[in-house]
Symmetry: C2
Subunit: 141 residues, 2 copies
Amino acid sequence: MSGEDPEGADLQADAEAVTAANQRFYDAFERRDIDAMSDLWVHEDSSACTHPGWPTLTGWASIASSWATLLANTQHLQFILTNVRVRVNGDTGWVTCDENVLDGPGGSTVAACNVFVRSPGSLDGWKIVLHHGSVVHASLG
Amino acid sequence: MSGEDPEGADLQADAEAVTAANQRFYDAFERRDIDAMSDLWVHEDSSACTHPGWPTLTGWASIASSWATLLANTQHLQFILTNVRVRVNGDTGWVTCDENVLDGPGGSTVAACNVFVRSPGSLDGWKIVLHHGSVVHASLG
């Protein structure tokens, strides 16, 4: 296919790279690795992060502070991602997925969307610029 | 400025068009106008919508069905948008905002992000491809 449809092959490669960056985000979260988390983000005023139930934090300074708080927790944390869907449009990609979160004795499902921008030189070639998560209430939808 | 920095002027014009498309989304929601809402969306399998507390709906068919249900409600509904922030990256734009929702006797704040893709020929030149809203719990963040 790649010889006949280079544009399609590029899109596929981009989608795989965005998927890898998305997985890296959850790996850093699970490992509570603040340095890895920091490396994954675009450090700009326009970056945005909405943790479940939180107001939207804008700007890297506010977002970094929230991660420092969240990742300082030492409770066991594991993410099993399901329904991972990726779309790339030029130099922007976004992922929707379900975060099936196992933390301590309980568990919950968080619906998430993550927006990435192409960032040559970064680990996967893409950095996260927006994260939004919200707890799914099973009685709805 | 437009004569000296055409790229900056284009970016500004794109940001204004995305802001207009975002406002049109809430106008359609407030008026419970299913046709206007339908016109605003990209009708593709990759479109995604997460209403507060809901699981993520993917694909236009599922999303359209959810809007038909939500917009059929006849309770008075008003959105006052605050903290509207727009970013454009090529042919993709996204908005974060707070939806201050007045519905009937009560009110709530929903943190939202909306992703748009450039769509020549549509009303504002951009269509929405992802919406994610989650209720803000005042005790957090």
